[in-house]
């Protein structure tokens, strides 16, 4: 088995054995989204109008919460330095870690989203676009987040700093993610928005690991 696969397996095993990473992220996602009916009032028309935005914003915040742990634990116990000595390039390792991160956060978020959409009265026509946009968008969130997580390694108040760095870069994903669902409901077809989300993923896939690996090298110096 390749080093890439083994690293994904290791991260998954760590996440599952230490327990609760995915569960906490999903728990936050559900709770944060449930706050909205209390905050804006339970009228079904209003909720169904803003459901797409609520689901996407809370999913984004939930993904953000889990980012800090992406490299932190490995950095603190020194295994990041051992990983850097592996023959596998650091860029590929970042990609493996992003894949593992997405499997324990992005995928559960996408799986939970339809349930939340149901609670928030999302129009039935929006469900395919909701799932597709989250499946295409959350990997981009993990990749961009990896850059922020690597940059803020060892910083004071790393968590707050991380959100300050990453949230502005998340805005395009949010715009087109919500746009896809709205277009799906409006009957215009979510295609163009999903294509743009795919383009962002295609751009982040090679570029984000490059930047994150460079940042990790700085942190290890």
């Amino acid at each position: 088995m390749s080093g890439f696969g083994r690293l994904v397996q290791r991260d998954l095993r760590l996440a599952l054995r230490q327990g609760g990473d995915a569960a906490m992220v999903v728990g936050f996602f559900v709770l944060a989204a449930i706050l909205f009916p209390f905050g804006v009032g339970p009228e079904p028309e209003l909720l169904s109008r803003i459901a797409a935005g609520i689901v996407w914003v809370t999913a984004l915040l939930a993904a953000l919460l889990s980012l800090e742990r992406l490299f932190q634990a490995d950095w603190e116990d020194g295994s990041l330095e051992a990983l850097a000595l592996m023959p596998l390039p650091l860029e590929a390792q970042v990609l493996a870690k992003c894949l593992a991160h997405w499997l324990v956060t992005g995928l559960p978020l996408a799986a939970t989203a339809p349930l939340l959409a149901l609670l928030l009265q999302l129009d039935a026509a929006g469900y395919p676009a909701l799932l597709a946009s989250l499946l295409l968008g959350t990997p981009t969130l993990s990749l961009i987040g990896a850059v922020g997580a690597a940059l803020s390694l060892g910083a004071r108040r790393g968590g707050v700093l991380l959100s300050l760095l990453v949230l502005p870069l998340y805005i395009p994903v949010l715009i087109f993610g919500v746009g896809a669902i709205e277009a799906g409901i409006g009957g215009f077809g979510a295609g163009p928005h999903l294509l743009l989300l795919g383009a962002m993923l295609a751009g982040a896939l090679p570029l984000a690991p490059l930047a994150a690996a460079a940042a990790l090298r700085q942190a290890l110096e």
């Binding site: 910083a155 108040r157 790393g158 760095l165 870069l169 930047a211 940042a215």
Partner: protein
């Protein structure tokens, strides 16, 4: 090779101290002339009336916001690739200035919008992307100052500055890609500017004045940063000498 000659901090201090008064005087002169032209000479717009004069501050500030970011990213790339001490300092010194220009652009744009569109703010692509630029500047400043070791903060900031450069083409082309309330480009476009010469000239004078102002402030900030570093090094060597003396005294007593 010729560039290397300017990368020497001592040479930079000498060169900048010679340039600084001229650059500052030119900035003051151009901004004064530009403001006079903009406020008294340029004609009021046939649709917008006198409110169009906000443009002479808003547009140069917007240009500077992008230009400073591009320069910051360039300096960051130079700092990362060649490990130039001056490039690091240039990027760090440019960031607050860029954030200032961006804030000025957003504030004047908001005032202008209230007159012309009837609203302080709309979430259209141009406004949103400039707001993101402002947050990129703030994130850069927060990141640079978040580490105990300043060198690490500068290097992390350099990578962030390069990542954030994806926003610049989005700002430039946002008015073409999306149907926005903000007007499309009227100066830097294929087929020449569509803005009338009587308005274009004051605008260009102001833009030159803003650029010179940025150069002046950047030189002052870089000089201050270099002097600060020198003071810190002197204080450290002072402490080292005292620190070396103290244990010896403790052993003899």
């Amino acid at each position: 090779m010729t560039l290397h000659r300017f990368a020497n901090p001592a040479r930079f201090m000498r060169l900048s101290s010679a340039l600084l008064p001229w650059c500052g005087a030119a900035a003051a002169a151009f901004i004064a002339i530009g403001l006079y032209l903009a406020l008294f000479v340029a004609p009021p717009d046939y649709q917008q009336g006198e409110a169009v004069r906000i443009m002479y501050v808003h547009v140069p500030a917007a240009w500077m916001a992008s230009l400073v970011y591009a320069l910051m990213a360039l300096a960051s790339a130079v700092a990362l690739i060649w490990r130039h001490p001056l490039a690091d300092i240039a990027a760090l010194s440019a960031a607050p200035l860029g954030a200032g220009f961006t804030l000025l652009c957003l504030a004047t744009g908001s005032l202008w919008g209230e007159r012309m569109w009837g609203t302080w703010w709309v979430w259209d692509a141009r406004l949103t992307s400039v707001l993101v630029l402002f947050f990129l500047y703030l994130g850069y400043l927060a990141l640079v100052n978040a580490f105990d070791e300043p060198g690490r903060g500068a290097r992390a900031g350099a990578i962030l500055a390069l990542v954030g450069i994806v926003n610049l083409p989005i700002i430039k082309f946002s008015v073409d890609w999306w149907n926005t309330l903000h007007q499309p480009a009227s100066v830097f476009r294929l087929g020449g500017p569509t803005i009338d010469a009587s308005m274009l000239w004051p605008l260009l004078v102001m833009a030159l004045g803003f650029t010179l102002l940025f150069a002046t402030l950047l030189m002052i900030r870089m000089r201050t940063a270099l002097i600060e570093a020198k003071i810190r090094a002197l204080m450290l060597s002072e402490i080292e000498r005292h620190g070396a003396a103290a244990p010896r005294g403790a052993v003899t007593s």
